[in-house]
């Protein structure tokens, strides 16, 4: 099929092609991050990007790197995923996650799973150990049990901060109906990576929207919305207002622009702008191309993100020297 194999060849910035570099980019959610959380968020994404990068440096695959980075974010209570996730209308944690391998288009996802500390790793197990792509709810928990993934007590994932916030907001019956760009929104984490072989991968994990209905599934575990990875075009992880991201299948939309020859930065910009215009949704995305181009873009007030762009020609293990950290305020 000409149309599906050719796009990957149209790479921007030809001088990147000669020196394949390994890159990992992570995000900790696009929303109006309050000042008291901003520092923890930036520290968290830095540490996670470092985690992913060290996997790549050891020769690990892009898939290993995004899993490691997202696990670090899930374990960090500053983020709405794994430990620190938001509570649903019943005061319970229900988690969604996806992982995708750009080599084979294989992916795995879990939705509305409970009592799992690292949903991204369970998603990877769905990809590698089942004939399916997505498991939901109790079925996902039964699968976790069957492969020996430890179930943690519900309180393990709950933070004091979240308990307070949930109490504060549970009176908003229609909370999730309101415009997305409010202070209380709290979001998803994700990572994208390209390894030295040019393989790309993505992973996204979330606790969803605070006060969501029981069983609500957002964009994160849905292939093409919360994430997508294809060695012919690139890998994307999205964050923001889940229902809007779903409506425009944001991850796939971004890569369709890349396939038509746009840069990863322009593709992200165009797609987020389209989401704002068409369905009035705000959000953010991180993207890498197989040649190592990357972008972190958002239309929310803030998005905590970090990238480690480790050039193969500059393999000095400079632990802090290679950081490319910026925080952008739109």
């Amino acid at each position: 099929m000409a149309e599906s194999s050719s796009p990957g060849m149209k790479r921007e910035d030809p001088d990147r092609n000669s020196k394949m570099s390994a890159v990992v980019v992570v995000h900790g959610g696009a929303w109006a991050i309050p000042d008291q959380l901003a520092e923890a968020s930036v520290d968290g994404v830095k540490a996670a990007a470092c985690e992913g990068s060290s996997v790549l440096k050891r020769g690990g695959s892009a898939l290993d790197a995004v899993e490691a980075a997202v696990r670090a974010l899930e374990d960090n209570p500053a983020f709405n995923a794994g430990h620190g996730a938001t509570l649903n209308a019943d005061g319970e944690v229900e988690l969604d996650a996806i992982i995708m391998d750009g080599r084979t288009l294989a992916s795995g996802a879990v939705s509305s799973v409970k009592n799992i500390a690292n949903p991204v790793s369970l998603a990877r197990a769905v990809m590698e150990k089942t004939a399916h792509v997505m498991l939901t709810s109790r079925g996902a928990n039964l699968f976790a049990e069957s492969i020996g993934v430890v179930t943690v007590p519900p309180d393990t994932l709950l933070t004091e901060y979240e308990k307070k916030e949930w109490e504060k907001h549970k009176t908003y019956v229609t909370g999730v109906d309101e415009d997305f760009n409010t202070q209380w929104a709290h979001d998803t984490v994700g990572a994208v990576a390209v390894d030295r072989a040019g393989n790309v991968a993505c992973a996204t994990s979330t606790g969803g929207i605070r006060n969501k209905m029981v069983g609500r599934v957002g964009d994160s575990p849905v292939i093409g919305a919360g994430g997508y990875a294809d060695n012919l075009s690139g890998a994307v992880s999205c964050t923001g207002h889940g229902e809007s991201i779903l409506k425009v299948t944001l991850a796939r939309l971004i890569l369709s622009h890349v396939e038509r020859g746009k840069s990863v930065a322009d593709s992200s910009q165009l797609s987020l702008q389209y989401m704002a215009d068409r369905v009035r949704g705000a959000g953010g995305s991180i993207v890498v191309s197989p040649s190592g181009q990357w972008a972190a873009t958002f239309t929310t007030d803030r998005m905590a993100w970090a990238a480690v762009d480790q050039d193969v020609l500059c393999s000095l293990p400079a632990p802090r020297g290679q950081w490319a950290i910026r925080r952008l305020l739109t």
Partner: protein
């Protein structure tokens, strides 16, 4: 765009895309289209339905054909009565869910534990609004529940127990699981419990995800897809159907698609959205559908089928599997087929 516009006596010989050129040049036809200038008749409204791609056993093919034609009649009646494309696709899919010959609602395949868990999805092209349910149990018409998710919540997808709770809160009656299970589905479940069974292969015998796409006279497009999933699937398995862009997509600027076939492969290429991207690039509904199916075969080694409409009323029913039961209604004419190249037509008012 189709030849019928210029030569009213011929029906649905589709413009040649690289793959469909040969395939579509052998339509078996019982055409009763008049020789009056049908190009003057408006292309809208139109509704197309499918009853799943696969190889349908001979003894069941008659059931499939009569099922999709009566579903398309029901959808078309809604459109002719002034209903929206969303009303029409939900009506058509409700018919298919209620028909035990299809793998959706009553007649759904059973999961490995012998239970029915269903997925459904609706989307309307004007606002990109959509609703979905996944792994829901004890509901006769998941497609109507998906529409309620769209209309009554601020979410797009509810899963499993949460979807059931929502159904309860909306007053949707719970039905006993037994009422959704047929002898045929139980027999196939039992057969595939044997350790050497190959449920995926067997599934091809009656893939049977159902779906509909429509354009109403205002030019609004909509899609609906509903399924019991894969035979002997794991508990909680969610396929392509409720995933937006995979099992279906609808956008007034481009068109609407409902897909069927090997769910995991459909997901890999985000098939419905892929086809609409091709149409945005100027491909016809047929060519875009064929390109999408070819991409899925090439990149994900999967077979399937799609129904596609654009806002002008052009439509296509295309598949890479051996068969797909499909039917369409436009200009008071019923079209239907099962094997490649078939396009039987008759007046919509003549009962099949």
């Amino acid at each position: 765009m189709t030849l019928e516009q210029t030569e009213p006596g011929m029906q649905e010989i589709k413009p040649a895309s690289f793959m469909s050129l040969i395939a579509t040049l052998k339509p078996v036809s019982t055409s009763r289209l008049s020789t009056f200038p049908s190009q003057l008749i408006d292309m809208l409204p139109v509704v197309v339905v499918h009853g799943g791609a696969g190889h349908i056993p001979k003894e069941r093919s008659e059931l499939s054909t009569s099922g999709v034609t009566s579903a398309v009649r029901a959808g078309y009646a809604v459109l002719r009565g002034g209903g929206s494309s969303m009303d029409a696709v939900v009506e058509a899919v409700t018919y298919l869910e209620n028909n035990p010959a299809f793998n959706a609602g009553c007649g759904s395949v059973l999961n490995v534990k012998g239970d029915v868990e269903m997925d459904a999805f609706v989307m309307e092209g004007k606002t990109l609004g959509s609703g979905a349910v996944s792994a829901v149990r004890n509901i006769a018409n998941p497609i109507q529940l998906a529409r309620l998710v769209m209309d009554k919540t601020s979410h797009l997808c509810l899963t499993a127990e949460g979807a059931k709770q929502f159904a309860r809160s909306m007053g949707v009656p719970e039905v006993p699981q037994e009422s959704l299970i047929t002898e045929y589905s139980r027999m196939r479940w039992r057969k595939n419990l044997a350790p050497d069974a190959n449920p995926v292969e067997c599934q091809m015998g009656k893939m049977g995800t159902v779906g509909a796409v429509a354009v109403d006279s205002q030019g609004n497009v909509a899609c609906a897809t509903s399924t019991g999933g894969i035979l002997n699937k794991m508990e909680g398995r969610v396929g392509d159907t409720p995933c937006i862009g995979c099992g279906g997509y609808a956008d007034n600027m481009v068109g609407a698609v409902s897909t069927t076939g090997h769910g995991e492969a459909i997901m890999k290429v985000v098939l419905a959205k892929h086809i609409l991207y091709q149409m945005e690039q100027g491909q016809s509904v047929e060519a875009a559908s064929d390109l999408g199916l070819a991409c899925m075969k090439f990149r994900a080694a999967g077979l399937g089928g799609v129904i596609t409409v654009d806002p002008q009323g052009h439509w296509a029913a295309r598949f890479s599997s051996r068969q797909m039961a499909w039917a369409a209604a436009q200009k008071d004419t019923l079209h239907y087929g099962l094997y490649e190249g078939e396009n039987f037509t008759q007046s919509i008012d003549v009962q099949h």
